[in-house]
Symmetry: C2
């Protein structure tokens, strides 16, 4: 199935290259993606200065698929990260959380296909060995190298294949694109997730680029997946950490696919400063521009994750407005977005708003059901708690690929929005057969 | 689909009647079920003295299916109830919650196919009209009659068909069995849920019988479904309420199918005292026997609900033991039991214990993952947080119809168990097409 998806993607890319609506490419450091301007989803990707990439195959995933990746900055960079809040943390997460206190980094090694979680002391040793092997071969201090893993939990890493593959990884540094890295970190993802933003910093054009991977075990209260962000803008490490935390809160922590929180979720950002700007601080005049660009980029990436939710056919935005408090709005929005009954109804194009009311009700948000309004896109299906009998119009909206469900509680002024997707038979198939 | 299931059930019943392994029937008041002794699931049902039943068709569900039922006690009874804690409560729930304060009842009217929830003032008027119509025709005070509804939310009841059908309901009182009532309250249930227990009270044999219906929108923190219990044992109303609350806590509040909590969940028990025993009080010598029988009965009924979980192929008991606190044990058990990833893995016979660790981890129970043990039935798949490599043996256990997942946290002495089922493609199909 993976292989098929992957092949289809490659064929689409080739078709795109030969397509007259293709508008242009930016290639830096050998990186860059080819997408036509008529494709809504993937604009031209710009890569920040001084970053190099490599991918390799260690046969962790099925044969023929890259499963090792390396992101390298030619200059030592500031680094910041957010990590899963799950009490069960994979070895690489535990390691990164300790290392990141220095705020310095230069390389990130990633493997997909195996999460190196629940692997005990051996798992921790394996993670360390991957770091030291890669660092030694690249010629940097091991303290500057980070490691992330994603995939099956509870299986030891095949180190006898990984260590030699790290050799070909470091040996081929600079030959791969950022897009290749996006491909190599995929597990059940059906397409790579990559985006970039440019931002003017004191007259110079800085770049932030990012990739991430989903697509199951996505729930809020942490970084919710693997995400690697790189920028050539100089920014002080605490400022970088604050900016990342803030962006993650508004993007990756606002999406849910199945309500399951992973053991490995990590978002890392490296800022190498090669733009040559004066190092950004929280109080810098240009800091808000950087923050906005980062918000914007992480929002796009988080949207791509939900769009590629396992088995999903629709992107659904749940908006709860006029709640008594922000906490109430969030509770109700997540209860709706995580409800299996709401999500299956969306899959079935059934404007079954009763399930939305029920979910808001068990979320224990404060509201009077007899004042609530519900909308599917701009079709009002509930007014003052009762049906408007616009099911037919609402059903028409539901056949669209994007749906916004709005619940107006009329209980205050707070609001919250959460991105999710529908729950389909394919989700079951993918997850029932994940390890087979 | 319903019709098919129903027909299949009737055919099975007929087959059972003609089957040599059929062991005997108890029929009282025209009620009683025919089941062979070789069928594990449904033992002989005994009906308490003085209860009569009726069913009718008001075309709320699909044509040809009974959707109205009446449970009547020839003597005024003590009545107790537990109700959904959802903030959005259906009109009949709101009404019952007020009426039950008197502790007295004699009749329960139930309709299936329409929940009469989110139907505003009209819904409340409709619920009252159903009660007064039925009470007047039976010849009792409306204050002694109760109403419950289950089915689609947000659609007004078809009162023009219901009111005449109540005429045929009350007119045929005594002609139906308790089993017929169990059939009439079904929505997505594939089989009726009925059970009974006998209990010695001061030398006399009292009876408690019950029916309930599932099978989606099942989550804890309330009665979780409709359940009607009847007994001929005399018991004081506050004692009855305490006994019911305690039993519900240990049975219906310990099951979860999809984590969705309904707007209509109600459990009612009527005790008409026709056994002639001295009225039971909390301090009565025979009260514990009554409590145990009720526990036992509600446990059986709650088990039947999970066994009939929408699309379920397996009954799964999640046991969390040696937790630091009862709250910790419960949080972890419910997180595992509600995890879509755990439930799809069970469907796929995949002993993917990593998802169990991850769920316990995001439940924020206090434990050291490196001390945790996990068992599938009696096969230990995790010892001290790492794999024992018994996946093959565990997979064999998973192909059985009943599975116990035990997570030993080694963090204290508290434990909790929760019943659930797997998550299958049929769940999606049933819920995507529920209203079509």
């Amino acid at each position: 199935m993976y292989v098929l998806y992957h092949r289809a993607f490659v064929l689409i890319q080739i078709a795109i290259r030969n397509n007259p609506c293709f508008s242009g490419v930016v290639v830096e450091n050998g990186s860059g993606m080819l997408y036509p301007s008529c494709m809504k989803q993937a604009p031209v990707i710009t890569i920040p200065k001084g970053f190099f990439f490599a991918v390799a195959e260690a046969a962790i995933k099925k044969p023929g698929r890259k499963d090792l990746a390396l992101i390298f900055s030619e200059a030592e960079a500031s680094i910041a990260g957010t990590f899963t809040t799950n009490a069960v943390k994979a070895a690489p997460v535990q390691l990164c959380m300790t290392k990141i206190r220095t705020g310095k980094g230069q390389a990130i090694v990633v493997n997909s296909g195996n999460a190196n979680a629940c692997t005990g002391r051996q798992g921790m040793k394996d993670a360390r060995d991957m770091i030291t092997t890669a660092a030694r071969q690249i010629g940097i201090q091991p303290s500057l190298a980070y490691i992330c893993s994603t995939g099956v939990i509870g299986t030891p890493l095949p180190m006898q294949r990984i260590i030699p593959a790290i050799g070909s990884l470091t040996g081929s540094l600079g030959t791969a694109s950022f897009d290749d890295v996006a491909h190599a970190v995929m597990t059940t993802d059906t397409f790579p997730k990559i985006a970039s933003r440019t931002v003017k910093i004191a007259g110079r054009q800085g770049v932030i680029a990012g990739i991430c991977k989903g697509a199951g075990m996505i729930a809020p209260n942490m970084a919710t997946m693997l995400c690697f962000l790189i920028t050539d803008i100089a920014i002080e490490k605490k400022t970088l950490q604050a900016a990342l935390k803030n962006s993650v809160r508004k993007s990756f922590n606002r999406i849910t696919i199945d309500g399951d929180m992973s053991t490995n979720d990590t978002a890392l950002i490296m800022a190498n400063g090669l733009l040559g700007n004066r190092t950004l601080q929280l109080t810098s005049r240009d800091f808000p521009a950087f923050g906005n660009a980062l918000d914007n980029l992480t929002s796009e990436l988080s949207r791509l994750i939900v769009r590629d939710g396992e088995g999903a056919t629709k992107l659904v935005e749940v908006v709860v407005k006029n709640a008594k408090s922000g906490a109430d709005a969030e509770k109700a929005a997540f209860a709706i977005a995580n409800s299996s009954l709401v999500k299956t109804a969306i899959f079935g194009n059934d404007a079954n708003w009763g399930r939305i009311m029920a979910a808001a009700g068990y979320a224990r948000a404060h509201f009077n059901p007899e004042k609530a309004d519900i909308f599917f896109n701009n079709i009002q299906v509930v007014k003052n708690g009762i049906a408007t009998n616009k099911d037919r119009e609402a059903t028409r909206e539901m056949t669209k690929k994007e749906l916004t469900i709005t619940l107006d509680l009329h209980a205050g002024r707070a609001s919250a929005h959460v991105l999710t997707c529908d729950l389909t038979e394919d989700y079951i198939r993918i997850n029932a057969e994940y390890r087979t």
